[in-house]
């Protein structure tokens, strides 16, 4: 019997597989397809203080081995998330979830975290300071160590739950930002968000997505994510939730070897809605192949 358990800041997960925010809604679309309680957890749709429609459409572009999205944090706002989405989520998911929150000011972040703080089914907060699809916020907080520190401190001040900061890869030195988060009290790092990308339609000769640019995700970004996780693992002592192009059990093991304690699966959910179930079912076989008994033993094993 293979041991798939991992531990995020005292929270024990049955396995490291967590569908990534923005690719899994609040779980119930997928609960129609399979029992989502097999997951380690999932990260719910990025939630902000106010309701947001997001960016104009088209919001999606195809890429080689990946996709661009410019959804722009569409969500009903934290009040409605608490009143409407979380009760629906509870009906299909009995484990704790990762609460993904975004904001446009330091106060926005702490407001949303504080509002959600009393929800018992939240295991950890994942504070997104890295959304490439919103102006005057989002990624702006994730591109400077000073701002990342401010958001971290503000969120830590309003909750006793672990706070993980989700980092942007669109920076010169991701290690400096991860360190700033750790020094400001972050309990963990979640990385990486999408890479800022673009496609142009040859027929219209204009950008494919209405917002011109968007977040590039999918298998194409896996090596970039892996490299950054490897670098940050060397520099910090807090756990890392790794993500970026993961679509197989082998990818999960590779990312854990780089330094991830848990692994999120994003774009792959949109192409194969059963991918997280398939990865969880496949992990014991791949562990056997590579002579791994206990998954948590391999975290950072490549260093």
């Amino acid at each position: 019997m293979k041991d798939l358990k991992v531990n995020l800041s005292g929270w024990e997960l049955d396995n490291p597989i967590i569908p990534a925010s923005g690719t899994y809604g609040f779980g119930y679309e997928f609960a129609d397809l399979y029992d989502i309680n097999i997951l380690g957890s999932f990260s719910f749709k990025g939630t902000t203080k106010e309701a947001r429609f997001g960016n104009p459409t088209p919001r999606i572009a195809e890429c080689y081995s990946g996709m661009i999205n410019s959804v722009g944090l569409q969500n009903p706002g934290v009040e409605k998330v608490i009143a409407e989405e979380l009760p629906k989520m509870r009906k299909v998911f009995c484990k704790k979830v990762v609460a993904n929150v975004s904001g446009f000011s330091v106060d926005d972040y702490s407001y949303t975290v504080e509002k959600l703080n009393n929800e018992e089914d939240i295991g950890i907060f994942e504070v997104n300071i890295s959304c490439p699809n919103v102006h005057n916020g989002g990624m702006a907080f994730g591109t400077s160590p000073e701002n990342a520190a401010l958001v971290t401190k503000a969120c830590k001040a309003v909750t006793d739950k672990p706070v993980y900061i989700k980092l942007s890869p669109n920076v010169t030195d991701i290690v400096a930002i991860a360190k700033a988060c750790e020094e400001s009290g972050a309990d963990g790092i979640s990385m990486i968000n999408t890479l800022l990308g673009m496609r142009i339609d040859l027929r219209t000769k204009k950008p494919v997505v209405a917002n011109k640019m968007g977040g590039f995700s999918g298998p194409a970004i896996f090596p970039v994510a892996l490299r950054m996780i490897y670098q940050v693992y060397e520099a910090v002592n807090i756990p890392i939730i790794g993500m970026g192009g993961v679509s197989t059990a082998e990818d999960v093991i590779e990312m854990m070897l780089a330094g991830a304690t848990a692994v999120q699966v994003g774009a792959a959910n949109l192409v194969n809605p059963y991918v997280c179930r398939d990865i969880i079912n496949d992990l014991p076989r791949v562990m056997e192949k590579y002579k791994i008994e206990k998954l948590s033993d391999i975290i950072g094993g490549a260093h």
Partner: protein, 249 residues
């Protein structure tokens, strides 16, 4: 929605860039005409959403236009090939809403889903007029198939080479009808909407990520709040449509 493996039993051109594909497999996820399927294509990351033209207990017919690499690859697939398909996506048309003399309106590659709608309406004993709009004679397809269903078919061509010269609205003004169902390019849908006060059901197209409601890639605003074209659409009823569907930008 169900994922399944479907076998191509026929794949043939109807015009220079419109192809018909018949797929064998589980059709039980389909409940309404105007729903779509999402097809995985080797070498492409995202699936390709294609509306269902017709289906029976064991077979689905789709008609698609070659517009990019994905649909070009589809056009070259041979019978016998297996495809990974998400089946039974979207709401489709509600034929219960139709009056006694509905008109179905299709423009270009918006024509195929209207075949399934016309078929369902005729099965309900309705007297159906089909207005099929094309640019020119050589782009016309499926006219005989609509006639075989028992529809009164009116063809419009932009260049006047066949039928009524102009757009589908030129044919609509010469038609007696209780309500309409439509699929086609958004300017056509908007022109229809503006040309009549009768109730309508309009099927919209949008670039999609997942096709099953997870990614919020295809959202639009409606009178009844935000909807996902892939999940609560692609069919919206006329009274809920906001033409500035992204008013927040």
């Amino acid at each position: 929605m169900k994922q399944g493996i479907y076998t191509i039993i026929e794949n043939k051109p109807l015009t220079s860039d419109i192809f018909l594909m018949r797929l064998q497999g589980d059709t039980s996820p389909l409940t309404n005409p105007g729903q779509f399927i999402n097809i995985a294509i080797e070498g492409m990351f995202l699936r390709r959403p294609i509306s269902v033209c017709d289906y029976n207990e064991k077979e689905i017919t789709i008609i698609y236009k070659v517009v990019g690499k994905g649909t070009e690859a589809m056009s070259k697939m041979a019978a016998g090939k297996n495809l990974d398909v998400l089946c039974g996506l979207g709401n489709g048309f509600n034929t219960e809403r139709a009056g006694e003399k509905p008109v179905v309106v299709g423009g270009g590659v918006g024509v195929p889903p209207m075949y399934g709608v016309a078929k369902a309406l005729i099965e309900k004993g309705k007297k159906v007029t089909a207005i099929l709009g094309f640019n020119t004679e050589k782009e016309i397809f499926y006219k005989e198939e609509f006639e075989a269903l028992g529809c009164d078919v009116k063809i419009t061509t932009v260049d006047g080479s066949v039928g009524i010269k102009g757009f589908v609205t030129n044919a609509l003004s010469q038609t007696e009808y209780t309500d309409y169902c439509a699929c086609g390019p958004e300017p056509m849908l908007k022109a229809l909407y503006n040309a009549t006060d009768k109730p309508g059901q309009l099927s919209f197209e949008e670039r999609m990520g997942c096709g099953f409601g997870a990614c919020m890639g295809c959202s639009c605003k409606t009178v009844y709040g935000n909807k996902r074209i892939c999940k609560e659409g692609p069919v919206l009823v006329s009274e809920e449509i906001l033409w500035d569907k992204e008013a927040s930008k």
